[in-house]
């Protein structure tokens, strides 16, 4: 950078070597190691295996799974809720933190938004996987056909279809629009086929004053829109269960309970993904302990919230001792005790004390323990919602237990591999760090002397009123 006479209120961006920062933050795009190829290869192989097993299941029949009567829904449907739940990560980080001007969000944004988009893609495929006649999934589309029938809009599954479609389009749009300035940056810094690729994607964004103003308004509008969509999506997914006449499912608390659980697992997912990105692409300078500290505080809050919702559900059933619901809850202490204990320990007992400690939150290896524990615990929680209620439902004569077979495990492993593969491809070809946002934050940051202390001061520039000189 040029040596200039220091100006009053010199911002941090002026002190930064932007070219070097670009090299640091775009390491995922600029450098490809054998580890990337290995990761993509393994993920691709597992995905291929999952697809092959899925086709086997479609050809032979759902009988190769562990499903039975009365447990007609099992691993697939619990996984669906789990993946859609994970997708609430990006929404929270990006949209809510953007609207509340939480400036620390800048390095975490892109990775979280990408996680939303790809977990949603995986989650959106599962409704097709779990069908008995997957090849006829298009019956659920409203289009004029010789069958002279349209879908039943009263079914929560149709609400699911609409909500997930809207949320998928919304989060992809949010991700893409958020990337446009960074794609422009990549366009300007690359050559050859990459330049053409990024030119096409950046849609000719240049960074003129007029463009930035409108871009800012559009980003804010997206953030405002995506939050109610996210809340409604997981409420609707919860209503797949809450609308049913199944003991343990038919509860009005399901909508907020699922949304809270989704945000909970989503933030844990973001922590894990951020830790991996930080290690893999050496982003220690951008993803600092402060970021994990803040995410850890959010996670601690969500642990408490989740515990509160779960206790409320349990309390009402315990107090009322409605026979049908009581049988379901008793099974938590019986056949499903291992799953129940896993959930409680992984969702609350391990994370809560750990996340209260600043030492844990500020250490990337240590905060991974509660984060991974929460992801496991939330998966157990989804299984615990779906399976026991069906296994111990209204008529005791047909009670049966359920355990998934290799088919279900393979297909779900393929789903997880799909997420990993998509994410790795994304990190390779797209900017995984929101460089423009990071630069914007640096631009607004100055050092302010208050008495004998020097503190960082971040300007809040919002709207026309504050900028009128």
């Amino acid at each position: 950078m040029s040596a200039e006479a220091p100006r009053a209120g010199t911002d941090h961006l002026a002190r930064t070597d932007e070219a070097a920062m670009f090299e640091r933050l775009s390491r995922s795009n600029l450098v490809t190691t054998w580890r990337w190829y290995l990761g993509v290869g393994v993920a691709g192989a597992v995905l291929l295996w999952g697809v092959i097993v899925f086709m086997y299941m479609a050809l032979v029949g759902m009988g190769v799974t562990g499903y039975n009567r009365p447990v007609f829904w099992g691993l697939y449907e619990a996984s669906l809720v789990f993946w859609i739940g994970l997708s609430h990560s990006g929404t929270l980080i990006s949209a809510i933190l953007r609207l509340t001007h939480a400036t620390w969000r800048a390095p975490v944004l892109r990775g979280a938004e990408a996680m939303t988009a790809f977990t949603l893609m995986v989650g959106g495929l599962i409704p097709i996987v779990h069908l008995g006649r997957n090849w006829r999934v298009y019956y659920a589309l409203p289009y004029p056909s010789s069958r002279e029938l349209w879908p039943n809009m009263r079914s929560p599954l149709m609400w699911d279809a609409m909500a997930i479609t809207t949320y998928l389009l919304g989060s992809l749009t949010f991700l893409y629009v958020g990337m446009i300035p960074d794609l422009a940056l990549l366009r300007d810094k690359s050559a050859g086929w990459r330049r053409k690729f990024y030119s096409a994607l950046s849609l000719g964004f240049r960074g003129t004053h007029a463009q930035w103003r409108r871009y800012h308004v559009a980003s804010t509008l997206f953030a405002i829109l995506i939050i109610p969509i996210a809340v409604s999506v997981h409420s609707i997914v919860s209503w797949d269960f809450a609308m049913a006449k199944v003991p343990g499912w038919h509860s009005t608390i399901f909508a907020p309970y699922f949304v809270v659980g989704a945000i909970f697992s989503g933030i844990a997912g973001v922590v894990i993904v951020m830790a991996i990105l930080r290690k893999a692409f050496r982003l220690e300078s951008a993803l600092t302990p402060l970021h994990f500290d803040n995410l850890g505080k959010l996670l601690c809050t969500m642990t408490l919230l989740w515990g509160y919702f779960y206790f409320t559900e349990f309390l009402t059933v315990w107090y009322n001792r409605n026979p049908e619901e009581w049988e379901v809850f008793s099974s938590y202490g019986g056949h499903y005790l291992p799953l129940f204990l896993t959930m409680l320990i992984c969702n609350f007992v391990i994370p809560f004390p750990m996340l209260c400690l600043k030492r844990v939150r500020r250490s990337v290896p240590l905060i991974l323990i509660p984060a991974v524990s929460i992801v496991i615990g939330m998966y157990a929680e989804r299984l615990l919602i779906v399976i026991p209620s069906l296994a111990r439902r209204n008529d005791p004569f047909i009670w049966a237990n359920y355990f998934p077979t290799w088919v279900e495990f393979s297909v779900m492993a393929g789903a997880a591999a799909m997420f990993v593969l998509l994410y790795m491809l994304f990190a390779k070809f797209f900017p995984i760090m929101a460089i423009s946002e990071i630069k914007e934050r640096l631009f607004h940051t100055t050092d302010r002397k208050i008495g004998g202390a020097t503190v960082e001061s971040i300007a809040q520039v919002e709207g026309e009123e504050e900028a009128r000189a």
Partner: protein, 232 residues
């Protein structure tokens, strides 16, 4: 002419013999899935006979409860099917449209009586067993839900015969397979819209009750409570 089909099952007469189950399997092209699949709780019986035990040995008593599809007036299964594969027809029956079903299995989850069964595989009838198949209804493919239909094929046959003869359906024209077979005659079937039918008389019995009435499904299958007397 509008019909209101209903069924009454007299638990006093039911011996739990299971002949209704066999008859239904024969009439409706229901596959025999084998011991292994049955152990996995995948029986495909459209009507099943529940057996509950009351009391302890040596006074233990078995209570038998044949459960066909209740053909609920407010069927929870109809509401949740995303593709209208099940709906309420004009006769008040809960109708199945096998070709439409895409196998989400939500209807089965929403049935509190668990009367719906799923085709986990493509079941085969090896020769010469394929000759026992009834031509009046389909053999369902894998991935499709099915359930008791009050032998709708027999209802249709009766309607056609009556129309040919230019009359309405008489009481006793329509006899589902289970009702036809029941040895002690515990099951009665008929049209509630007919004020003189046997079913209308049976439903005036003070012993009558419906299963899980508190759920608001308004089932069309009515049970007559077992009397407890000397030696029972």
């Amino acid at each position: 002419m509008k019909h209101t089909w209903a069924m009454a099952i007299d638990l006093d007469r039911c011996t739990g013999c299971g002949a209704c189950v066999v008859a239904c399997n024969a009439e409706n092209n229901i596959p025999v899935i084998g011991e292994a699949e049955a152990a996995k709780s995948r029986l495909m019986h459209w009507i099943r006979v529940n057996r509950y035990w009351e009391g302890e040995f040596p006074e233990a008593q078995a209570i038998y409860l044949p459960i066909p599809c209740m053909q609920c007036e407010r069927a929870p299964c109809e509401l949740v099917c995303p593709v209208y594969a099940t709906y309420h027809n004009e006769d008040g029956l809960n109708a199945m449209v096998y070709n439409r079903c895409i196998g989400t299995r939500y209807c089965a989850n929403n049935c509190p009586y668990s009367v719906r069964v799923f085709n986990w595989y493509d079941y085969k009838w090896e020769k010469p067993l394929d000759e026992q198949l009834s031509p009046d209804l389909t053999v369902r493919s894998r991935g499709v839900m099915e359930k008791c239909t009050f032998c709708i094929q027999r209802i249709r046959r009766a309607k056609e015969a009556a129309a040919e003869e230019g009359r309405g359906i008489r009481d006793g024209d329509v006899v589902p397979a289970c009702v036809q077979t029941c040895p002690p005659g515990a099951m009665v079937f008929g049209d509630l819209a007919d004020p003189h039918s046997e079913i209308t008389r049976k439903l005036k019995d003070p012993r009558r009750f419906r299963l899980m009435e508190h759920l608001g499904t308004e089932p069309r299958v009515v049970y007559l409570k077992r009397q407890k007397g000397a030696g029972r």
